[in-house]
Symmetry: C2
Subunit: 320 residues, 2 copies
């Protein structure tokens, strides 16, 4: 059984980790958002790719969910003392990764080659792929103007009111090697509980990826997990974004955002949290199958349990 997961930040990484633990080796491909990537202090920084890899490698910071376990901040401290731009929290171990990635890019390696190389050293079993080797930049349209994603997310702490998003370079970006093969060979595609606007949509902004999913063999289910629970998120600005865009932040509106196959979207099934059982009626109206389960991943066990629930759901309802 081949599973493809589309993932962004911390929530996505947790589910990916659960899937990696319950699936047989070699059956999971993860397509990761790189719309958050940016150049900072001359370094190429890929927050979502690193969050997924650190999590799968077991070296993620268990408290923050991003960054590395046992991290120190001495380089940033020195830079800050000198009046340098310390708003983006770069830990020392993390910095070593950015330095090596930047060096490898400078000698002509692609992001996906570098990712594969790092995954091999970190003994990461799933195939982790950036969505593209081309640079795609998520731009947040806001009441403070158009902001590069990290300026909005980190520097401005998601305070500006958003009015929309664009993905610079997505029109020209090809999927990274392995992405289309992964989708075309998948028995199941999982959309992780990541921010729809800025974690999943950038991936789908790469046209060939979206086409491959939308035009897939109808037998391959696409199951999304709602990142919105009770109108809120565990982490990140997804709920705030829905509100500012004039959409009630609810699990059913996440489902509407992706759209059911019936409505020319691409979802086959949807996973909502136990706390959102009353959302089912609205989801039914979309002609979309759904299940209710615990989606809050506090422990390692929760990750595996959610992964197992999704796999059972896929097997039972979509006859894998």
């Amino acid at each position: 059984m081949k599973v493809v997961a589309l993932a962004g930040g911390v929530g996505g990484a947790k589910l990916v980790d659960g899937l990696a633990q319950v699936l047989p080796e070699d059956s999971l491909t993860v397509i990761v958002n790189t719309g958050d990537d940016f150049e900072h202090l001359g370094l190429r920084i890929c927050p979502d790719l690193d969050t997924v890899c650190y999590t799968l490698a077991g070296i993620a910071n268990p408290v923050t969910g991003w960054g590395r376990a046992g991290e120190t901040w001495h380089a940033l401290e020195a830079l800050d003392q000198l009046g340098g731009p310390a708003w983006f929290r770069l830990g020392d171990y993390d910095l070593g990764v950015h330095l090596e990635r930047t060096r490898l890019l400078s000698i002509g390696k692609t992001l996906s080659q570098i990712c594969q190389h790092f995954c091999s050293i970190w003994e990461i079993k799933p195939h982790v792929l950036p969505m593209s080797d081309y640079q795609v930049a998520t731009i947040v349209h806001s009441d403070e103007g158009d902001l590069p994603f990290q300026d909005y997310f980190v520097k401005r702490r998601c305070e500006p009111q958003v009015s929309g998003f664009s993905f610079e370079g997505a029109g020209q970006a090809n999927p990274a090697p392995g992405v289309l093969e992964g989708i075309n060979n998948a028995d199941l595609i999982v959309i992780c509980p990541s921010n729809p606007w800025v974690s999943i949509d950038p991936i789908l902004a790469v046209q060939e990826i979206k086409s491959a999913i939308v035009n897939r063999d109808n037998g391959t289910p696409v199951i999304a997990v709602s990142p919105i629970i009770q109108g809120k998120t565990i982490k990140g600005p997804a709920a705030k974004m829905f509100s500012e865009l004039g959409i009630n932040p609810s699990a059913s509106n996440v489902a509407k955002h992706y759209g059911s196959l019936q409505e020319r979207g691409f979802l086959s099934g949807f996973v909502i949290d136990d706390l959102d059982v009353n959302e089912r009626a609205s989801i039914d109206k979309l002609g979309l199958s759904s299940i209710v389960t615990n989606t809050i991943m506090k422990t390692e066990e929760d990750r595996k349990e959610l992964a197992n629930v999704i796999l059972r759901y896929a097997g039972l309802h979509f006859e894998l």
Copy 2:
């Protein structure tokens, strides 16, 4: 009284620190070798400038003499784990400095502006100047070919046999702002106990600096401190270099290397260690004044004491 010191690595930094402690504020200008500077991992690294500044700021590693006190090596550890080039030991605090310097260079600041900015934050009183804002690169000619300085010094641990040196870019390099004014207004010029071949010579390879010293008002003494004691150095490859170039490593041969004024060199006086008292006869033959004192700076007190001895020597013998 205005004093100018020419300095390179650890020994130079120690004497500069002694001078800074015994001289009144605003009377010391330090001209630092930048021939060791190089680009590594996309960063501009200035080892001698940093050694001098860290020492003067009181944040140098007291054990190694270079790098920072309380340093950690996490970024390098992460880079090393990924198979990156970890041969050049970059500590985390140190890295923060290189990141900010590189960023400031990338937005058009000059090395001397950046140095002044860092010195002001680190509350360094002496005027610390890079020899030039232009890049000059020390090249070591060796039995393994021409090696960039850090390849010879760090990567190859000074093992190749040297046959000479060149200073790429020195012909086009102007002295940094303040360097010529410092020399022209100096009452005393001190050549620190730094490596003559690769710490002091690169500074003198900037033609206007050498001319300003050689053609100075005769009243301004130039006093050098021998980095060679008993045919050896406290640190670094100077003695090995003398030998490989077919010159006996001795204090008197350091004096010969710089040359006395009488011989169209530029030294007025020379300081040798107590252990090298038998070198005086050869130095006398050069028509060069000399004194014998302890030049081994093990403690803070030793630094100040040597600085005081040099100042007294300059005052007594050269009627400052």
